[in-house]
């Protein structure tokens, strides 16, 4: 298993000018690593639906590379989105999955069949033309340039170490972040979308 922060550090080297959407407990690391926050966006606010929103964004911005860091708990709530994406095959869409095998934000309870499930195989079966599975950081690092240069949709499953949060919500560290609407407005301003 790989530390999510290390995944983001390696990805940053290959990000280029892409739009990046990150979700999940470990997603806060990206905010400290990203060098282009105006092209970082937050769209999620319904269970499992961020991926559908990023899919829509990729369809609407065909000339922009759109990278989504999904999580396995969210994907399991909306598995049909794999078929929806594979059907339209957005060439500009790179779909990472950070799989920590648990619901880290609710105390680390395992997701169903967490040890056996193979998300890359599911994506392949749904019709993604290119899929990867990584459990080792070095292997991921070697392939990142190829992944980012590939025609989408590309699915990249990465096993990550869980960062479990077990305090009551009111006692957790408050992380300063732009609101969803602020990230949307910043991106639209950057891309001159009215």
């Amino acid at each position: 298993m790989i530390e999510a922060k290390k995944v983001f550090e390696e990805f940053q080297k290959h990000r280029g000018d892409s739009i990046v959407h990150v979700q999940g407990t470990s997603g806060h690391h990206w905010k400290e690593i990203s060098t282009n926050p105006n092209k970082d966006i937050t769209l999620g606010s319904a269970m499992g639906q961020s991926t559908s929103a990023v899919f829509g964004l990729a369809l609407g911005l065909e000339n922009e590379k759109v990278v989504h860091f999904d999580t396995e708990g969210a994907l399991l709530m909306n598995l049909g989105v794999l078929a929806s994406i594979a059907n339209k095959k957005p060439k500009n869409f790179i779909h990472f999955l950070l799989d920590n095998e648990c619901y880290a934000t609710t105390g680390g309870q395992p997701v169903p069949n967490h040890e056996e499930i193979d998300y890359a195989m599911m994506a392949k079966g749904a019709g993604y033309p290119t899929t990867y599975n990584f459990t080792d950081l070095e292997e991921l690092s070697i392939h990142l340039e190829e992944i980012m240069d590939s025609e989408g949709p590309v699915f990249v499953a990465v096993k990550t170490k869980p960062e479990i949060e077990n305090l009551p919500m009111g006692l957790r560290e408050k992380r300063k972040a732009r609101t969803r609407l602020e990230t949307i407005n910043d991106l639209r301003r950057t891309l001159n979308i009215s």
């Binding site: 559908s52 899919f55 609407g60």
Partner: protein
């Protein structure tokens, strides 16, 4: 009260979509909209995006809205009932216009229906405080543009219920 005798043609909806400037239709086909689906697929100005479950449609529409496009969601009331969390988080909470065309399965002019999908449709919309219009026949078509203009003005989702009692879109 008489039965519905006037016809709602799929072309009426398509004309309204063109007038509004719709760029994308996000949909799950149902038995009553098959002909409309085929008609939409033939339009080069319209991109049809089939999704796997209705909850995806509001989220996909949000992404397209952010990208500056004009998406419309086309689903059935059964799927709308399933989509509550997505309607909340991806439409009501975010402040973008969204027109949702919703097939009113079980709708009847007689007022009573045995179909629970119809029984709960309007209470659901009222609970979510979503305004809605009813379109039954061609003469009602302009309500679609009216609903869209309301969604733009309020930056909120607005629903058009398609109450085509007997004819369907699948002739």
């Amino acid at each position: 009260m008489s039965d519905q005798s006037a016809i709602l043609r799929p072309e009426t909806l398509l004309d309204e979509f063109k007038k509004i400037g719709v760029t994308h239709i996000i949909t799950i086909p149902d038995s009553e909209t098959n002909y409309l689906y085929e008609l939409m697929e033939q339009q080069d100005w319209l991109d049809v995006i089939p999704v796997s479950r209705e909850g995806e449609s509001m989220a996909t529409a949000l992404g397209l809205n952010v990208a500056g496009k004009t998406p419309v969601v086309l689903i059935q009331n059964t799927g709308m009932l399933e989509s509550g969390d997505s309607i909340r988080g991806m439409a009501l909470d975010i402040g973008f216009p969204l027109l949702m065309i919703v097939g009113y399965r079980g709708w009847t002019r007689k007022g009573k229906t045995p179909d629970s999908a119809a029984i709960y449709t309007e209470p659901f919309l009222n609970a979510f405080r979503i305004n809605y219009y009813l379109v039954e026949q061609n003469e009602d078509g302009a309500r679609i543009s009216e609903a869209y203009e309301e969604s733009v003005a309020t930056k909120q989702p607005v629903v058009v219920l398609i109450g085509d009692e007997y004819h369907g879109f699948n002739r």
